[in-house]
């Protein structure tokens, strides 16, 4: 086991450690806790990369199978087994990746039970499931050759499988053609969301050809990586042959793609300098034009560096194509723009790492590559006393080394887990700001209601009067509250308690926002710091927490009422819930509870001398006001979306 492979495996085990932690967080706290997915971005990295990218990357299997078994090009035989193994592991990785993405993962097999063949996704699911079984049968002989399985029954199965290889390969090609293409037709139904540069009626053809090109290049990448890490001898002449075929396929893909744009007349729109057209040009260049061009040159095609560069570019480009279609070019409102959370990357990388480890396991223990049987016992570590290498033999050292890497990475991952990945999705908090007093003049409204007009100080109209501009979440839709008028109606200063139903010590009109701290979510009103400060630090603890040993929580502390008897005002409109001392409801609910309740009550009592539309929303929430506010308070931007649909 050479040093490079050792480092690679350690890194992969670290990724597996992180995957383990994120898996627990994902399945314990659901999708919302771990991903940045939203209603506007239902499909994210896991669908874009794991499913669509993974399926394309695993296309090498059927391409090479076709080349060798159908087109009879025997000299590409050494590529068959690694390609089939990559395809098999790729599809299992797709299935596992899907388990993470599905809301109800244990229903993953339902497409077998419920058929809805009008859906492109049904065709994808059916073909993937069938192709997975075909791949398992195609790959089974490699496993059954192992001396471990030479039981008579298994050998019979092995020989049966060997005989049925050709039909299997043909079935594999047919199924691959179907689902590689139908992955493209998934997006035919969303012409309005997918950017015209990517949307086209023949997307399935483009997906299929790009998959074939990618398959050829993936086989090249895989044998180069195997050479680098597993000391596998590279068949340069064969790879250059593949390179030429890939050049042909990628070239035709590029021509077809641009041609399709021209035919649909969209070509002109991509000349503008929007980021979509920039993305389109770079993607097409990376995925097809540059590699195809380079691969046509013989010198590039037959040099390791050239092959590596082109195959890397193609792989990157084709994966970008999948991601563009699934995520980036998929329109969604700005305020819900989607970028995968680090946990989504962790799961993707974790799954890839797990399957590379399994790939290496298969390569080392089964005859996948001709020249890598048992790993050659490399030169033992030098036992010279001054050596700085650990001499512990692999049998003892490797399990410890890998488990250490996994556990250390897992620990780091736990540290970076956001709060909602640990405790479940938590509603976003919207802090509440104080209301402000501003001058204004009541203006008669045509609908009979009294409309309040904001005044600018410079206008200086004498009869203007101060009233409160209540805009808790500063979204630019303030409610104008005529404090004076209410005071007059409720008989001046004795009536403060009606609204100010709980006041802080030595304060008879504590403002609403001081207790109702969050716009929508209940918030605790108990301020521990000030209590500790007032009760002379440590010595004060026992005044509330009598039982010293018990856990110091709200439940075990003495009740607030014992010290604060007089703060609840008798006149209060708000009926006193039992544990009023702890949680104050959301600011919106509190205001509506108090104002709307009172408005409806007074409207019901004497409808005559009370303005009719008192209980209508726009009496207080005046939709037109933001325009004025803009003039007076430019900083308060109206950030309200135009509407959910858009």
């Amino acid at each position: 086991m050479n040093r490079r492979l050792l480092i690679l495996k350690t890194a992969l085990w670290a990724l597996v450690g992180v995957l383990a932690v994120v898996t627990v967080a994902r399945f314990v706290n659901g999708l919302g806790a771990v991903t940045n997915l939203s209603d506007a971005a239902p499909w994210g990295l896991w669908i874009g990369f794991d499913v669509m990218g993974g399926v394309a990357l695993a296309a090498g299997g059927f391409v090479i199978a076709a080349t060798v078994y159908i087109f009879g090009l025997e000299r590409y035989r050494p590529f068959v087994r690694p390609a089939i193994l990559t395809a098999f592991l790729g599809y299992v990785a797709v299935a596992i990746g899907l388990l993470y993405d599905l809301g109800v993962p244990w229903h993953i097999w339902y497409p077998v039970r419920y058929w809805q063949y009008h859906s492109a996704l049904f065709e994808v699911a059916a073909c993937v499931i069938l192709y997975l079984t075909v791949l398992t049968l195609e790959f089974a002989p490699v496993v059954l050759e192992h001396p471990l399985f030479d039981k008579p029954l298994l050998q019979k199965v092995l020989s049966a499988l060997r005989r049925v290889t050709i039909p299997l390969v043909i079935a594999g090609i047919v199924l691959s053609t179907l689902h590689q293409s139908s992955l493209g037709s998934l997006f035919l139904i969303t012409p309005y969301r997918l950017h015209p540069l990517w949307y086209s009626p023949i997307m399935y053809v483009l997906f299929f050809i790009s998959a074939v090109g990618l398959g050829l290049m993936m086989v090249t990448v895989e044998s180069l990586l195997a050479a680098f890490f597993l000391d596998h001898k590279v068949h340069k002449r064969l790879l250059s042959g593949l390179g030429l075929a890939a050049a042909a396929v990628l070239g035709s893909y590029a021509v077809l793609r641009v041609g399709d744009l021209a035919v649909r007349g969209v070509l002109t729109s991509y000349l503008d300098s929007s980021w979509q057209s920039l993305l389109f040009v770079s993607e097409l260049a990376i995925s097809a034009i540059i590699p195809a061009g380079l691969l046509l040159i013989r010198r590039v095609r037959s040099s390791i560096g050239g092959l590596a560069l082109c195959s890397a570019l193609t792989v990157l480009g084709m994966v970008m194509y999948r991601l563009d279609v699934a995520i980036i070019a998929f329109a969604r409102p700005e305020h819900l723009a989607y970028f995968p959370s680090w946990m989504e990357f962790a799961v993707t990388l974790g799954i890839v790492a797990t399957f590379i480890l399994i790939f290496i396991f298969f390569v080392e223990n089964f005859r996948v590559y001709e020249d890598i049987g048992r790993p050659a016992a490399g030169p033992g570590p030098s036992h010279d006393p001054a050596t700085l290498h650990a001499l512990l033999p692999h049998r003892l050292a490797l399990p410890r080394r890998f488990s250490l890497a996994a556990i250390a990475a897992a620990a780091v991952a736990v540290v970076f887990l956001p709060q909602q990945a640990i405790t479940g999705v938590v509603p976003a908090s919207t802090p509440v700001a104080a209301s402000r007093t501003v001058d204004g003049v009541p203006v008669r409204r045509d609908g009979g209601g009294r409309k309040l007009q904001l005044l600018d100080r410079i206008d200086g109209v004498p009869e203007g009067m101060p009233f409160l501009m209540i805009d808790g979440n500063r979204n630019g839709y303030p409610v104008l509250f005529d404090h004076k008028a209410h005071e007059a109606r409720l008989e001046s200063d004795r009536s403060c308690g009606i609204c100010h139903h709980i006041d802080k010590p030595f304060d008879r009109n504590t403002a609403c926002f001081e207790c109702h701290g969050d716009m929508y979510e209940p918030v605790s009103i108990f301020d521990h710091a000030s209590h500790v400060a007032q009760l002379e630090g440590n010595a004060g603890c026992i005044q509330c927490h009598e039982q010293q040993a018990m856990e110091k929580t709200a439940e075990t502390a003495t009740a607030c009422a014992e010290c604060h008897a007089d703060l609840v005002s008798p006149l209060s409109l708000v009926e006193a819930p039992a544990d009023r001392w702890r949680d104050a409801v959301g600011y919106m609910e509190a205001m509506h509870g108090l104002c709307v309740h009172c408005h409806e009550a007074s409207l019901a009592e004497d409808p005559e001398n009370v303005p009719a539309a008192l209980d209508r929303c726009d009496t207080c929430h005046d939709a037109d006001r933001p325009i004025e506010l803009q003039r007076m308070a430019p900083h308060a931007t109206a950030d309200r979306g135009e509407g959910a649909g858009q």
């Binding site: 706290n29 859906s119 065709e123 090609i173």
Partner: protein, 273 residues
């Protein structure tokens, strides 16, 4: 098209009192709205709010709800058939079949289906036009609760006639066309409005072609493609196999040097047309 039940929303009459939202919440006990990260404002459509009022400037209130399209994209997209178009008309969701792939969220032209991202086992949520009430002969809760008659319930032909009557009677007041009449094959929820309602969909002009047709255009080629490629492969295999057998017999007799086959043409890339 059999005459399905429908809803006509008149935005000029809507005063934004949100009684329909309250009624919908009570009918299905949707609970308090909470500000989730994955949605815009609290009052947007969400898993706890199946219909909402979009507040536009100068007292322009539009009630957003599932359009119950006649040729629904979500029904054709759902691979397990969890979304179904009921004979009566409304599009309903069967949670027991859903596997949570969220394809319906992606395909809905109006972006209506919402997901319970906060739940450990999430399901899709959307307005089902109170299908149980309709089946018992009643009318949806939101319509019952609307004080202004801004949203009315009836058969689609009836309401279309009513809509066109209103447009005709006060020409200046309404936009000339009824929203939802022919768009993507027509929807059961129609709107008459004094201002353009393009903001309800992802893109202003969705065109009149029903969306499922676009997928079916590709999907119906699958069976022929399957046979075609299968046949092609078997044919090629048979041809190549025979030629190699002949070549090997030839080499056995006169033993020329191993001829190198010409470069592979790779998988045939004509694919389907």
């Amino acid at each position: 098209m059999s005459d399905t039940v429908a809803i006509l929303n008149d935005t000029t009459r809507c005063t934004g009192c949100e009684r329909c939202v309250e009624a919908c919440k009570e009918e299905y006990e949707l609970g308090r709205d909470r500000p989730w990260r994955e949605q815009g404002a609290v009052s947007d459509l969400s898993s706890t709010r199946h219909t909402t009022i979009i507040r536009r400037p100068n007292e322009h209130y539009v009630r957003q709800q599932c359009r119950h399209c006649l040729e629904p994209a979500c029904v054709s997209a759902c691979l397990v058939g969890a979304m179904q178009k009921t004979p009566e008309g409304p599009v309903v969701y069967d949670a027991s079949k859903c596997m949570g792939c969220r394809y319906c969220l992606a395909v809905c032209p109006y972006g209506i289906p919402r997901y319970e991202w906060d739940r450990r086992v999430p399901y899709v949520t959307k307005c089902t036009m109170c299908i149980d009430r309709i089946r018992d002969g009643g009318i949806p809760a939101c319509i019952e609760a609307c004080p202004e008659e801004a949203t009315v319930f009836g058969t689609r032909t009836e309401l279309l006639a009513e809509a066109h009557r209103r447009i005709a009677e006060n020409p200046g007041k309404y936009q000339p066309e009824v929203f939802g009449e022919r768009e993507i094959g027509g929807t059961a929820v129609l709107y008459v409005s004094d201002r353009s309602l393009d903001f309800l969909a992802w893109k202003p002009d969705l065109g009149n072609q029903p969306l499922p047709e676009r997928t079916w255009a590709a999907l119906h080629k699958v069976p022929p493609l399957m046979l075609g490629v299968g046949g092609l492969m078997t044919g090629v295999y048979w041809v190549v196999g025979r030629r190699m057998r002949l070549a090997s017999e030839a080499t056995l007799e006169i033993k020329p040097s191993g001829t190198d086959r010409q470069r592979p043409t790779g998988e045939s890339h004509d694919g389907q047309g």
